[in-house]
């Protein structure tokens, strides 16, 4: 996983929960079929319009609810570059790091508009808005997770730890 991510913004509000990202009724389907329904409860055209590298920017409590990693699976299927939110639900934040989906907290995401081109530096906790020419502070990646993120997530990290190539 790269520490610098640049992409176009899709903007959402508060409490984008995992039932919205990955509705329960489709969870037993293969990921490519689940992904069609990602976010459809609040944004029916999401899976058609989103492009690889796009960045989701949202308000408070992104990813609340279930521990389902199908939420990360469908967002990764759509090749979402990163998620920036005022705050994340705990399990979602942890799962994202474990599977190598970049997540950054930022005090006030309302200064970012849909369609903006933003660049995120995970190590420095910096968010540059190229469209508006502004720079914002985000949270830095916790130190004990830097190596895991550098390696691409928990599985490669465990492989190294367990001495499996």
């Amino acid at each position: 996983m790269s520490f610098i991510i640049r992409g176009r913004v899709w903007k959402y509000g508060d409490n984008i929960n995992t039932d919205i990202i990955s509705p329960g009724q489709y969870m037993s389907l293969p990921v490519e079929k689940q992904a069609v329904h990602a976010m459809e409860a609040i944004d029916p055209s999401f899976s058609e319009k989103v492009q690889p590298g796009d960045i989701l920017v949202a308000g408070n409590n992104f990813g609340s609810g279930s521990s389902r990693e199908t939420a990360q699976m469908v967002l990764k299927y759509h090749q979402i570059g990163a998620i920036v939110a005022n705050s994340f639900a705990r399990i979602f934040y942890r799962n994202s790091i474990n599977v190598g989906l970049p997540v950054v907290e930022m005090a006030d995401t309302s200064v970012i508009t849909e369609g903006d081109e933003v660049e995120i530096n995970l190590l420095e906790g910096k968010i540059i808005n190229h469209t508006k020419g502004t720079e914002h502070k985000g949270t830095k990646l916790p130190e004990h997770l830097i190596e895991m993120v550098k390696l691409g997530g928990l599985e490669p990290y465990l492989a190294k730890k367990l001495g499996i190539s």
């Binding site: 409490n15 509705p23 329960g24 009724q25 409590n61 609340s64 521990s67 990693e69 928990l154 499996i164």
Partner: protein, 430 residues
């Protein structure tokens, strides 16, 4: 400096004398729990790539509950995969068709005070009702736990929620937890433990305590804890647990991030309205809202005491012709007990349909999902948009009593209207 229950359990699990909120610790897991939908079929690839050897099969529990009974071929395939995987791994503890995992692991004695339990489901925190530190993790994280028996955790701060006094007639644990979530907010306890205490909490039965811990995650909490007492010991003994019980408690001088005080005697029946669990109002303010379906069950509120209350309300009555009422006992054990007590007869004679114990329609998986424009009154734990089926449906959450009263009228109803006098006396003098 004193320690909270969370700090004590995580100190023990990390082999240290003292830890404090904010510390990052590597912990040894006592129970790793997976269910069918977020379990073996998702972890198997990574697990095998990394050697495929379980750290300790005695500490791994698998419960098939989300795809039971399978409604689609895909669910049947997941169920088969889960069953075959558990057999191939020679797991001593694999359960299926018994009910939601959180209830099943409690009934089989896997949940004990002081244990560290990680499960691939956000409501794993229910085990905190017996004094275990239990929380949900993702499937990838579970791969690491299965291989090494360890993971890292940040020691959480604790919000102490004190409920003193006696609950009034017609008011239950569900109302306590809904009111608490309303005040803390759906993200207000993120990264923290909620510890429930006070005389109203001690007075609650085991069944009811589990409602509180089950729903702690609806305030964003990592877990919901209740100090174990003699009721917990008696419960575990009745389940055949003979080993010494760790009567863990928070120290008097433990540090809390926040303490909330409530007088239980002032509480009224509560309802969580669409589409967030903290959108809570007194039942009086939503009374009369017409519903299409009533759902009495789930790991939150499908235990025997819940079904008894519903039966008291529905005995000799008929549910509204405009609705269907689905009853989903929290486990096969609960089903059998309800059958023995004649409760299933009372409920079916009233017009309810009794489904098999499973996660069912609570998460929109099987048996009773709703269509566009439909409204449900449910005793379960989550009312997110699309949670029980169509994203154009609406889910209201309330106590089993409120759910049963709603079934009679076909619209959201204050349960106190239908509680017989003798129940009132029982509640007051219990």
């Amino acid at each position: 400096m004193g320690m909270t229950m969370s700090e004590k359990i995580l100190a023990k699990a990390s082999g240290q004398a003292n830890v404090k909120a904010g510390d990052i610790v590597w912990v040894k897991v006592d129970i790793a729990m997976m269910h069918d939908l977020l379990g073996p079929w998702l972890v198997d690839g990574g697990f095998r790539r990394l050697g495929g050897k379980l750290f300790d099969k005695e500490k791994v529990v698998v419960v098939s509950d989300h795809c039971t009974p399978p409604a689609t071929v895909q669910q049947a395939d997941i169920l088969k995969f889960t069953r075959d995987w558990s057999r191939n791994q020679e797991l001593p503890y694999y359960y299926e068709f018994e009910g939601p995992c959180h209830q099943v692991i409690v009934e089989h004695g896997h949940v004990r005070p002081g244990r560290l339990i990680l499960g691939t489901d956000s409501h794993t925190c229910m085990a905190g009702g017996l004094g275990a530190f239990a929380t949900g993790i993702g499937s990838t994280e579970m791969i690491g736990v299965l291989l090494t028996g360890e993971t890292w955790l940040k020691v959480p701060e604790t919000i102490k929620v004190v409920w003193d006094g006696q609950l009034p007639h017609g008011v239950y644990a569900k109302d306590i937890v809904l009111k608490t979530i309303k005040d803390i907010g759906h993200a207000g306890a993120t990264y923290q433990t909620i510890e429930f205490s006070g005389s109203a909490i001690s007075d609650l039965s085991m069944d009811e305590r589990l409602v509180l811990s089950n729903m702690a995650v609806e305030a964003g909490a990592k877990t919901g804890l209740i100090e174990p007492d003699q009721k917990v010991v008696d419960y575990l003994r009745s389940k055949g647990v003979t080993e010494e019980i760790d009567m863990i408690s928070s120290d008097e001088d433990a540090i809390y991030s926040r303490v909330l005080y409530y007088n239980a005697s002032e509480l009224e029946p509560q309802v969580a309205c669409p589409h967030e669990v903290d959108n809570v109002h007194a039942v009086s303010s939503v009374e009369g809202k017409a519903v299409d379906q009533v759902y009495l069950g789930s790991c939150t509120n499908g235990r025997i005491s819940d079904l008894r209350i519903a039966a008291q309300i529905l005995k000799g009555k008929k549910i509204s012709k405009n609705i269907r009422c689905l009853v989903v006992p929290a486990s096969q054990h609960v089903w059998m007990q309800a059958n023995k007590e004649g409760i299933l007869d009372i409920l079916t004679e009233a017009g309810c349909i009794v489904n098999m114990p499973s996660c069912g329609a609570c998460g929109g998986f099987t048996s009773g999902v709703i269509g566009a424009g439909e409204v449900v009154m449910s005793s379960s734990n989550r009312n997110f948009r699309g949670r029980m089926g169509s994203p154009k449906g609406e889910v209201y959450l309330g106590s089993p009593a409120a759910v049963a009263a709603t079934a009679i009228e076909g619209k959201i109803t204050d349960p106190r209207k239908y509680l017989p006098k003798e129940v009132m006396v029982n509640v007051i003098h219990h």
